[in-house]
Amino acid sequence: MKIPEQLENILLSVQKPARYTGGELNSIVKDKREVDLRFAFCFPDTYEVGMSHLGMKILYSLLNAQKGIWCERVFAPCADMEQQMRAHHIPLFALESMEPLGEFDIIGFTLQYEMSYTNILNMLDLGGIPVLKQERSGLKNLVVAGGPCACNPEPLVDFVDVFFLGEGEEMNLEFCALYRQAKQQGLGKAEFLRKAAQIEGIYVPDLYEVCYQEDGTIASITAKGGAPAKVRKRIIKDLDKVFFPKNFVVPYIDIVHDRAMLEVMRGCIRGCRFCQAGFIYRPNREKHAPVLERDAHNLCESTGYDEISLTSLSTSDFEELEPLLDNLLTWTQPKKISLALPSLRVDNFSKELMQRIESVRKSSLTFAPEAGTQRLRDAINKNVTEDEVFRTCKTAFEGGYTNVKLYFMLGLPTETYEDLQGMVDLAQKIVDLYYSLPTRQKGKGVQVTISVSCFVPKPFTPFQYEPQDTREQLQEKQQFLLHAIKSKKIRLNYHDVSTSFLEACFAKGDRRLAKVLYKAFQKGCKFDGWDDQFRYDLWLEAFAECGIDPTFYANRRIPFGEIHPWSHLDYMISEKFLQSENQKAYQSLTTPNCKLKCSNCGAASEKRGVCVAKR
């Protein structure tokens, strides 16, 4: 029986069956006899999360624009569906052909967050594909992965054959071309991998040998088989010329980000010291307004979406933002299409900007001061002052907003209880500010939400050397905040610290963690990023059974000069720069943003974007 017929018997017994049926507008169905490369693009989370991801949409369209390649989508089934699939022996399938994962030449995963790793293993298993790469001998079912977490993919090396470092548009096509050639020539897997390792940005972990010292730290990482000593990430040199989809697959069910998305730039000029994205996507490069306007128009016409979101790491830093918004508004307003700017900074949020984004529909306001005091904000290089926060809130309140959400991070390096008290004080001052305004709407209260996440030190950031606070320290800090808030106008959101602890382990983990991951998967861990499915107890068992101490990875300070598990990967950021940034944090010294002054991080070697712009 084919999969669609088998599904008939189970789909009405699972939640939201339209997650699993395919057939959405703009999804691409090709004749499999007319393609010689079938690519399964797998997102290791639910349909709703994966379908919201812009990178997947870009690569899906890009690959399908090639004659001879058919790229399909695969998502992780939810627990109820997985249970039914396993009970009825239905393998994990792709949504276009409805054929099992085993039919695919290349199985590609996107690594967006560490807590999705067990889902990768589980999806391979559900697809009937051996989870361990050593059990996959042929060229078929090659497992590849890319995305931000590929900057330290070491905990995944037992499962994934090839990693793609950096931006994927050009690299994917080069890799696929080589694969098609290899398939035609009947090359073996090992031979193909050696050739692939010559493509810039392609990291084949099998070609690197890691030796350890007695204390558990790394002694050496050695390349073999002609692979480069360091694998350098890829970047797109000219964003105006890079491929961008003319349409998106339009889902039936409500997904997380259900709108047209434009990527206005890559990279960020700011250099907040905790932020991995702020470093691994350097150098900052912008698209030009006319290109974005064309893309916005194409997407709205082909999808029927009524909202366009201008995405990037910090959209208000985008040079041509105001002219772009003005041009967009000339046609979006009559069509009742609203504009959303999800990543605004408090220091350059203007009244004019606010009026533009709310011209059709009003959305809520969210800001990220990240820390409660100026001292700590300087230490993390979040160059935002309290006055700027107040000015922004005042603008927002006067514009009729009554809800403000503030994002903070707990456990940042150099943090003290004074900094925590600072968060609460800041929120209280915002509440007071609201009531001091004569313009406020009568009878309407204000709600300030403090959303606190736990700091996770990440590779390629100045804080990569830092230990994470222990679970106990983080819990104490959460309790402190809970008790420090006296006002009903202030709401506190926080998460379980165990997830952040594991995130820290895997973010900075080495190859030895692969066996812990495998064990956790065997014990049934999956959807670890979902509070209702996270099983910390099983994870602890997995670590214990492997004889590995997780605190070695999460809570240990790494001395300058130690070899990192990711030391053979080159993200264009020099170690010297990261060390100097780390030291500046301890002196509460800020570093100016890339537009003001080059701080010699290393990315300027590419001579692109902000690095060569006039200052």
Binding site: T21, G23, L25, V250, Y252, D254
Partner: protein, 216 residues
Amino acid sequence: MQNVRIFYEKTGRAKYISHLDINRCFQRAIRRANLPIWYTEGFSPHPYITFALPLPLGFESVCECLDMRLVEEWPYEKIKEALNAVLPEGLHVTQAAQPQNKPQAIVRALYQITLTGDSAAILHALDSLLCQERILVMKKTKKGLQEMDIKPHIVECTYQECGQGVQMMLKLPAGVNENINPSLLLNLLKEQYHLQQMHISVLKLAVLDEKGQKFS
């Protein structure tokens, strides 16, 4: 302002799209088709469309119906073609026309039900179930689950063996005042006669008014 009634089919895997999602799906199709639709006013303007009756998840239908308003007059044939050019797989407009009656005029619906499985057992079960004096099911009402005898509500029910099972034509009350979902009867059949392996597929064939005429 032009009032438009759209009749459409929802077949194949589109049957797994929920009613709420169909609403959004049509709003987007209307935008893609550039229909000059009337938007609701107020805080969050959206294209104004109303559905005559929700279709339960998993049912196919050839008689779904929605109403909308256009701020500019368009020929009905053009509306139909414009929508069909942009609708996803499984959704197809069969007619666009001026509404003749209010949606409240719908009082019954006709379903074609295919029961796949051991046809002898299914036929026997149906014979036995339908000659019961009372057919008691649990129906969700505003007051919660309530027991109800649906036998007096069955307007018409015929069935015969066909292919790998039984095909049944079932006419039941449908509409704003009284609505009976055929699943009530079908699930009871399945449970009471232990027909766990039986596969049920439901196709809504027509919505009818008081006189038994097709709603228009």
